[in-house]
Amino acid sequence: MEVIRNFIYQIQESLANFDGDLLSYATLLIRFFLPALAIIIIIRCTRSLFQEKSEEEIWGQLRLPNGTILDLNYWENVIGRAKTSDIFADYPTISRNHAALIRDDKANWRLYDVESKTGVVINGKKIESDTGIPVNSGDVIELGGVEMKFTAADNTDEYEQAAYRTRPGRVYKQRTTLIFLTEFQLLLGLQLYISMGDRAGLTLPLSFLALIVLTWTCYFIIRALKRVAFEVETMGFFLTTIGLGIVASSSPNELNRQLMFIVLGVMFYFIMGWFLRDLDRVKRFRKPLAVLGPLMLIATRLFGRRTFGAYRWISIGGLTFQPSEFVKIILVIAGAVTLERMFARRNLFAFIGLMGLCMGLLALMTDFGTAMIFFVAYLVIAYLRSGDFATIFLSFAGAGFAGLVALASRPHIAGRFSTWMHAWEHVNDFGGYQQTRAMAAAASGGMFGVGAGYGWFRRVFAADSDLVFAMVSEELGLLVALTAVVSILIFAIFSVRSAGSARSSFYVIAACATSAILVFQMLLNVLGSMDILPFTGVTFPFVSKGGTSLVASWGMLAFFKAADTRQNASFVVKTPKRPEYSGGGSMVYREPEEPLWGGDEEYE
């Protein structure tokens, strides 16, 4: 009550004592508009991501002896007696995870013997190799004596089903959301232009203009690629806009540099998307990348600069970058697997070995924050692959955890731990200087902030990177800061939702691991600077100033796009080509609400 009374008093006071200082009134109003726009943007993106229809796809069918027809809804299907099997075949002679039927990019299907007791026979031939054998439409698969006739969806089927499915963006027009974002960008730029006065110069308006142009260019490229969903990108640009505002306030002479990194980030996002589009290509790169990752860490340790006790940065020709940011992406690619590889234990052990190596190297680099993030990414990947926490903990957690504990005992990290939750007792020393400033700044900002460019916190070391949550809170208010947090959480929830329809388990694991990295990193940043977790000095994805982190964050967005199979949603997911001939497909469609094409003679 007291709070609301105070609040109303302040508004009354502002209105009653009109003093002709129009700029201060502009600030007063923009302070309310920015959070409102931020909330609208996030709500629109979220609703578009979760509330629009996403119908199931059918990639092939199996006809059982009793005449039942089972749909293959994924590119990767496990056939077995286990209830969780994608194709649930309840015959006593079929094993729990009997076989895997997997489609590749070029519509070629292969059949794998996964954990069968009775073997897998195709057209009378038993599968012997680990690499499976090709299956074609019309082939008869025999599992434990049960014969099933396989039919693959042909080009016509795929095209028709694509035409039938709902495209996102019908209810929540992506362009409208983007217009809200542009308003946010314009107002933030205007606010900074007011507050910075002479410091703003020409660079500030130009860089905000450039960001707006980039946002729309990116949107039109996606449209040109005949794709319609732009929610994930919109949130990425929303976070990036906040980041640009932060840099404008904290170090205006680095605006050009930040803008360059934003452009690089968006480019990297497209490159990553293109790369992930072709799963075969990704698979070919997995091994070389698994070698490159540790090498990059070794290089950082050998040639890196030691700052604040940790080796994080490598400097090449005046440009510094942080290899561990890219190693995160590499680990995601190296750790995610397609379905047929999930069942072999030795595959998991190879990944555990790679993770162990990386954690060891991070221990040598004494980069505790990154080690924590890697560890969480490992847990998620290992769990998604094995579904078994016991294995994960026995095999690695012990060692990984021991590594973290060992790291935590290093003086500069132990210092952070000893003052954790006691920042106010260390107001003027290493243990609490930054955190107490961060808390004071965040509190000073209240819900609506003191106005972009009007804060004092920007002068504190790392205000625009490791402590950026506090700076956003101070200048733009807690509401905007929280929408930034929510954006990251939405990515994570969306990747869980996509898991139900993603083409390959590779994309599911990759998207989930990426979410885990982003969420955990964000948590370390926010709660670390606010003295709720030990302060480890990691960046807030997209928002913190810092080239590598920003570029890598954009690259990670491609993983979410790769798992997004809503119709025509994502350029990372291929759409079927227009069939060369028209006519009925090979699929049997049951219970169609309306016939999609004539002559459905196979309809039962």
């Binding site: 609040f7 994608d86 579904g387 808390m439 509190a443 209240g446 807690l478 599911v508 926010v526």
Partner: protein
């Protein structure tokens, strides 16, 4: 795929963790935001670690701290400036109990919605419950002696007068603040110090005796100026002869209260001291007071001395005021505060705490009535003096604590003069001057 799809839900665990973590942060933000924003490095409202917004007035609207041309200024009257230093604060933020530090959130108009932002950058005006005239009178009565005067309304808990000495003029701070003259000058002695209570502590012993000693009112004590306890001697400054309990309080006989303490026992004495709040910390407008002390003596002589307020006993003036106010207010202590309540909160009564039963409070009050009106002309006063021996060849601390019985002027007071001499002779007249000012 179904398996992976199910396992993917594990990511939601992390999301929930994040939501819980952020929720925890937001709650902390709402609860402690005012405190965080009051850090002197919040330069939105602080300049050179000094709160640069907000006006402080006394209860009658007399300005105690203002901003003139962007600089902090203080009351016009020099005595008011000096006497309100510890209630208002100085330019450097040295005074821990100063309103400029303690009430910074109120002065900047802080709330977690608007933060410390204000378009006009002028902050808010707050009123203290302090009466600047009363403070100035107390300051003049102390006349440079070290000590504290604190007066409250025992019905509401409002502090009307709070002076700590030594002090200085915050508008014109002296250069030699680190010299011996100003030793401990930043300390608000009324809240942040604890002193040997001397005979004022006999109120506690009496309270415990009323409830624990059989046939107390019929009992006869024999004072020969000294009493043998074990191998040691408890001394009384006068030979009171054979007297009863009530008379013993009026003449402040050590033998009476030493004997009672022995009867009551160390454990019960300690629990009464704690119950009356005197060995505990209490809160004055959110500031924690100095902690008093009562050690359970293991030897009888020490127990006897602790019963007359010597031994290792210490008491903070503010908690003593709270206790005395409770005796005046039928046993109920109102929470002490010096920020005047406004708006909704002014309707809500102060927090209270029952320290004594109504009967005990009444009986205690009766036996400390000041007879004759020579010392306090026109006032009906219940009071107890204290002359606390501090050893080391120093003069004793002079205490005078009590209250006005007339409910038109429901004031409780505590006066302490460090090494001032006899309680009644030194602290009593100071109390009289302040109370005369208060009732007129």
């Amino acid at each position: 795929m179904n398996k992976v799809r199910t396992r993917a839900f594990s990511v939601l665990f992390l999301v929930i963790l994040a939501i819980v973590g952020m929720g925890f942060y937001v709650v902390r933000f709402m609860v402690f935001g005012g405190e965080w924003a009051s850090a002197p490095f919040n330069t939105t409202v602080f300049r050179n670690a000094m709160l640069a917004v907000g006006v402080v007035t006394d209860r009658n609207g007399v300005v105690l701290a203002d901003i003139t041309d962007g600089r902090r200024t203080f009351a016009e009257n020099g005595d008011v400036r000096r006497s309100t230093l510890h209630a208002v604060g100085d330019k450097e933020g040295n005074i821990g109990t100063g309103a400029l530090s303690v009430f910074a959130p109120e002065l900047m108009g802080y709330n977690f919605i608007t933060g410390s932002y204000s378009r006009s950058e002028s902050g808010r005006q707050i009123a203290l419950t302090i009466d600047s005239k009363l403070n100035a009178a107390a300051f003049r009565a102390l006349d440079g002696r070290r000590g504290a005067v604190i007066v409250s309304n025992y019905e509401t808990g409002e502090i009307l007068c709070m002076v700590s000495s030594p002090t200085f003029d915050p508008g014109n701070p002296p250069d030699d603040l680190s010299s011996a003259t100003y030793e401990g000058v930043f300390l608000n002695r009324a809240i942040q110090s604890a002193y040997t209570p001397g005979s004022t502590f006999k109120l506690v012993t009496a309270g415990a005796a009323i409830e624990n000693v059989n046939r107390l009112w019929d009992r006869e004590f024999h004072c020969t100026g000294a009493m043998q306890v074990g191998g040691d001697t408890l001394i009384c400054p006068r030979e009171h002869g054979t007297i009863g309990f009530a008379r013993g309080m009026q003449v402040s006989c050590n033998i009476v209260f030493g004997e009672l303490a022995l009867d009551i026992g160390a454990n019960t004495m300690a629990s009464y001291t704690a119950k009356y709040g005197l060995s505990e910390r209490s809160s004055v407008s959110g500031i924690t007071t100095a902690k008093g002390n009562f050690d359970k003596a293991t030897s009888n002589i020490n127990l006897a001395w602790s019963g007359v307020g010597q031994y290792t006993n210490t008491v903070c003036p503010a908690t003593m005021l709270r206790f005395v106010g409770a005796i005046a207010n039928e046993g109920i202590a109102a929470d002490l505060h010096y920020l005047k309540k406004t708006g909704v909160s002014s309707v809500v009564p102060s927090g209270t705490d029952r320290l004594l039963s109504r009967d005990t409070a009444e009986l205690l009050g009766e036996i400390i009535e000041i007879q004759g009106s020579d010392s306090f002309p026109g006032l009906n006063i219940h009071a107890k003096s204290g002359t606390a021996q501090v050893g080391g060849g120093k003069e004793p601390h002079a205490w005078y604590v009590g209250y006005i019985t007339n409910r038109n002027h429901p004031y409780a007071f505590v006066v302490i003069v460090e090494n001032g001499g006899g309680g009644a002779a030194v602290a009593g007249p100071i109390a009289n001057r302040v109370l005369q000012e208060a009732v007129n």
